[in-house]
Every structure is written in C-alpha cells, then in structure tokens.
C-alpha cells in the first residue's frame, strides 16, 4: 500500500486515463498521445489540404482541383499551370499555413500564461505593438526588407510586452488586470500607428495601410525562406517551453515543486510568444482572431484540459487562416479583413460569456 511497492489495482499497472491513449516506446523514446488528438489532427490536416487545393485553383486563371494536383506533383504538367500554381500561388498558401500555426501557438502560450481565453496577443496589445514597430521601420526608415521589418516588429512586440507587464504588475501579475492594461496599451499603440500614417506621404500611407489590413498577396518564396526558418526555430523553442509552462497553470508553488523554474519559464514563453506574433506581423501585417480562437477551438476539439496542446492548436490555426484566405480570395479583400470580421463576433461572444461568468 505504498508508492514503493508494486501493488496496482489493475493488471500490469496500466493507468486508466478515461480515454484511449496511444503509447509508443522504443529506445530512448517514450511518447504518449491521445487517440482523439491524433484523429483531430488528421481531420484538420485533411480540411486544410482541401482548402489549400481550392485556394491554389482560385484566381484570374481558375483551375480544377485535378489540374492543381497535377501541376503540383507532375513535372510534365502544363507549363503555364505549373508556373501559376507553384511559383505564384503556392508561397501564399505556405505563408497562410506558417502564419496560422505561428499565431495559434502564440495565442496558446499567452492564454495559458494569463489562464484566460481573452489573453491572446491580438487582444492584450502585443500584436498592436508589433504592428507599430514594423510601421516605424517601414515608414520612417523607408525599408520593406523582411528581416528589417521583422526586427522592428519584434522590438515593438517586446517593448509592448514589457510595458504591459510593468503597468499591470502589482506584487504579482493578476491575469485580468494584465488583459485590461493590454487592451488599453493596444488601443494607444493603434492610435500612434494611425498618427504615423497621417504624417507621411499618401503613397507611403496607402502601401502601409494595405499591409496593415493583413494581406497574404504579393508574397513569394523570397520572403517565405526567412519566415519559415524563423518559424522552425521558434517551433522548437515553443515545444521545449510548453512542457514546463503547462504546470504553471497549477500555481507557481506546485510547478516549482515539480521542478519548474517559474520565472525563467514565463520569460522564455513570453519571448517565444512575442516572437511568433512578430514573425507573422512582419510578413503579412496584423491578423486578428486566429491567435484568439484557434487554441480554444483546438482545446474543445481535443477535449483537453489546457490550451497548450500546440500541435492541434497550430493545425487549427493553419486551417483557419487557409480557409479565411480562400474566402478573402473569393470576395477580393485582404485576409485580415475576413479574420477581423469573424473575430469581432467571436470576441463579443467571449466577452459576454466572461462577464456573465463573473457575475454568477
């Protein structure tokens, strides 16, 4: 009857998680996944693939799904279709995948840190900060080079995060105070960006405003390379920080007792989350809603107790953004306009539900 003797209730000492769990052990590897998560991920991947093929077929040269597939995988396919699909439209789709995934992971990290579904980077001002930082580089320094804009975007996001943390800090970080302060700081930064737009030439302002709506158009493999490399690096960092981060949801003392360095984990997670948002903002401008909704949708689909399941969250984000871009292509608006419209409704619903929850 103690922890050191082996007297399990069930034969073989199996642990019943109340759901089907797949365990895979070989050599130094010992992995455990929920069957449900795997199935959800497979379905999300399939949905993304369908929207992806539809997106690749949309445009001034409409192509059927069969034509798209042959253009993608058959080197002997029609040269013109190959040029359009692979060289022109594919980078845009890959950008949607990467940005959707990056936003979702960033959202998952901040929602876990604040233990609140409202605590996503686009609500708590970090995305506005990235946008303001990128705008400074684009308008005042007059460069649109990806790495320059990304640095500006990262700096803007990091400074905003620091500012929000400092303003919200009062002997500790209460999640709700952080969110309120973040919304205020975000509003302030948006005004600042508008002010910048008004002070430059109309041509420059137009360019920045289109980008500021969040658009995937005009992106090629030249921009995809650095963005994808940065994303891959951040994916590894996030994967490493998520394991300790999830324990912080039980309170700092419990997490520390399990061997988690709370301050270090929180810092690393914040840096990774801000960097993921900055990466997207620098490439395609601010895109609302994905970071806010994707982790929540993924959590409900997988029936997980945390938003920090980054693989389902990332796939959900990718699916959402690819689907939104498909809609954007059809009605000919920037993808940010689509996500912000859907996101506005969702945010209103979320606020109403939280308010009701607080009054209860």
């Amino acid at each position: 009857m103690t922890a050191t003797t082996t007297a399990p209730h069930r034969p073989g000492g199996r642990v019943d998680f109340g759901r089907t769990v797949w365990v895979w052990r070989t050599g130094p590897l010992a992995l455990r996944v929920d069957r449900r998560s795997v199935l959800v991920c497979a379905v999300l991947a399939a949905v993304t693939a369908v929207f992806g093929v539809l997106t690749l077929g949309s445009g001034s040269l409409p192509l059927t799904p069969a034509q798209v597939l042959s253009a993608l995988f058959d080197p002997d396919a029609d040269h013109r279709a190959r040029l359009v699909v692979v060289n022109w439209r594919l980078p845009r789709l890959l950008f949607a995948l990467v940005c959707g995934a990056a936003l979702a992971i960033s959202g998952a990290i901040f929602q876990s840190l604040t233990r609140n579904p409202l605590g996503s980077p686009d609500v708590i001002g970090f995305a506005s900060g990235s946008y303001a930082g990128a705008s400074v580089v684009m308008l005042l320094l007059g460069t649109a080079d990806y790495l320059a804009v990304a640095s500006g975007s990262l700096t803007g996001g990091a400074v905003t995060a620091l500012l929000v943390y400092l303003l919200a800090y009062r002997g500790g970080l209460a999640p709700f105070r952080l969110i309120i302060v973040g919304i205020a700081v975000g509003a302030f930064l948006s005004s600042l960006t508008s002010m910048m737009l008004l002070s430059v030439s109309p041509q420059q302002a137009m360019l920045a405003a289109t980008w500021g709506a969040g658009s995937l158009s005009g992106l090629g493999f030249a921009q995809l390379g650095p963005a994808a490399a940065v994303f891959a690096a951040l994916l590894v960092c996030s994967g490493a920080v998520v394991r300790p981060l999830v324990h912080l949801e039980m309170g700092d003392d419990t997490a520390a007792a399990l061997g988690v360095d709370a301050q270090r984990t929180r810092l690393l997670a914040t840096v990774a989350g801000v960097a993921l948002t900055a990466l997207v903002t620098a490439a395609v401008g601010p895109i609302a809603f994905v970071a806010l909704a994707a982790p929540q949708i993924a959590q409900r689909l997988t029936r997980s107790c945390t938003t920090l399941r980054i693989v389902p969250a990332a796939l959900t984000g990718a699916t959402l953004l690819v689907a939104a871009d498909f809609v954007a292509l059809r009605v000919d608006v920037p993808v940010g306009v689509v996500t912000v419209s859907v996101g506005g409704v969702y945010l209103a619903w979320l606020l109403a539900r939280q308010y009701a929850g607080r009054r209860r």
Partner: protein, 276 residues
C-alpha cells in the same frame, strides 16, 4: 508519564535536510532569524506552533520556494540552491497549500503530472512513469476515480489526488503543508495513516500540522516554533509537555497518555487562558 521511561533512547541520526543559521522572510517582514532546524533521516518530522509562528515559512524554505536572506539550507549534504530545479524535484516532493487543478483535468492526468521531474521532450511516458502513477493512485485509493474530472470530486477525494501526484514523483523526502486542512476527521486520519505507512517504508516526511494530538501521535520528531524561533525539538514525549504547550500556545492544559497509542495527548483545562 511512564511512557517516557519505556521509550528506547534515540541514537543521533544524520540529517537529511537542514536549515543553518538562516533568516527567512518576505520583502518587508522577517519571520525568522538565526534559525537552525534539522530533519533527521528517516524521520516523520512535524512542525507545530501557533498561527503566524513561521511554520509555513520554514516549510517553504525547506522546499526552496523561499530563499533564505542569510544562512543556508542543506539537502543531503549539499546546499539546496546548488541543485538543478528538476534534480531537487527528484529528491524532494512538496504538497503545497495552494494548488489549483486546471479546469476539466482528469485524476490520472493530474497524478501523471507528478512525473514531470523524471520526464523530457522525448521521454514523456516510460514504463516507470506508468508504474509510479498506478502505484500512487492505488496507495491513495483513487484508482477508481482515474478517468473522472478532478473538479467533480469531494474535498477529501481531491486532497488524496494531490497526495497521489506528490507520491508519483517518487521522492525519498516529502514535505506536506497542512495536508489535513479542510478534511473531516475520518479523512484526516486516513491521510495520516497513509503518511505513517510511507514513514515505515523508509520515506522521510516533514509536515506542518495544526492538531497537536495528531502531531504527537504520528510524528517521530517534533519541532515547536513560536514567533520564528525553535522552542523545543525532540520526540513527542520530550516536546509535548504541559509547560511547553502553555509557553508556545498560551494554553493551560494537562498532558496524558493517549489511551490508544500511548503518545502524549493534550487536554485543555476548563478555565480559558490566563492573561499572558
């Protein structure tokens, strides 16, 4: 007081965990100064004392949640802060007072989180993890609740689940901060009996307990604190005396042998406290 003479004389045991000349406290308030505390190897050490005497502060220092301002804490002969965070968590488990279960988490998932110090990105769920979790749930009788959400459980069940999480950590040392608070008397005794079992099988335990009689019954080593100072340490019969209880708690009482276990039992006097 015959029990005192029938007890075998204790030989000194090496320390497992030690606080050496430490001052402990928070930003604006020092709770303890020049504190020396020793947790003997293989003991069931219980810290007693009135409210705000520094019991929890001491436990926080022992479990490196609180860094001493001066002085040091030594675990198995080495300074506590020289260990890596996960390394400490493999030697020393802690049941904190303020643990929040994430919404909707199931019992098995929560208990499995106790394995974190043994796991890594590629070592997520070894045979040993599975055995430790199954054993911890069996020991605390929560195996049948395995797939249930923790928020649906009663207070007593929930506390057993938290204990299971700490047991799954498989540490030779266990620190328990008021583990029986909010439980009814039957659940309190259940849990204390479980700790006594762990003590018998070689674990070293340190607990903060409020109930003096329970402390005297289960502890092998008592530490009495008052206003941040150690007033007495030793076996229950050495520490729990009428004079000491009056000195530490300001409670006039008599101490008689417990009719069941022959450990000291505090019986408060009918007249309420004197003016001290």
């Amino acid at each position: 007081m015959t029990a005192l003479t029938t007890r075998p004389a204790r030989t000194p045991v090496p320390a497992r965990l030690e606080v050496i000349d430490a001052s402990l406290g928070y930003a604006r308030r020092t709770v303890c100064e020049h504190l020396d505390v020793t947790v003997p190897d293989g003991s069931f050490t219980v810290i007693i004392g009135p409210n705000a005497c520094g019991k929890s502060t001491l436990l926080r220092a022992l479990s490196r949640l609180l860094k001493p301002g001066t002085g040091r804490v030594v675990l198995d002969g080495r300074a506590l802060d020289s260990y890596g965070t996960k390394e400490v968590a493999r030697r020393l488990g802690l049941l904190p007072q303020t643990a929040q279960a994430p919404d909707g988490i199931t019992v098995a998932d929560l208990v499995a989180r106790g394995r974190h110090p043994h796991q890594g990105l590629l070592r997520q769920w070894t045979e040993e993890d599975e055995r430790a979790v199954a054993d911890a749930m069996a020991a605390t009788s929560v195996t049948d609740l395995s797939g249930r959400p923790v928020d649906e459980l009663s207070g007593g069940q929930r506390q057993r689940v938290w204990v299971a999480m700490v047991l799954a950590q498989r540490t030779p040392l266990l620190l328990l901060d008021e583990p029986t608070t909010f439980l009814d008397i039957a659940h309190q005794i259940d849990l204390l009996e479980l700790f006594a079992d762990l003590h018998r099988t070689g674990h070293t335990l340190v607990a903060v307990l409020h109930d003096l009689n329970q402390a005297a019954r289960y502890a092998s080593h008592l530490i009495a604190l008052r206003e941040g100072r150690v007033v007495a340490t030793g076996t229950p019969w050495e520490v729990v005396t009428a004079d000491l209880v009056e000195e530490v708690f300001g409670l006039p009482c008599r101490v008689v042998p417990d009719p069941v276990t022959d450990t000291p039992m505090v019986v408060p006097l009918a007249r309420p406290r004197s003016t001290r």
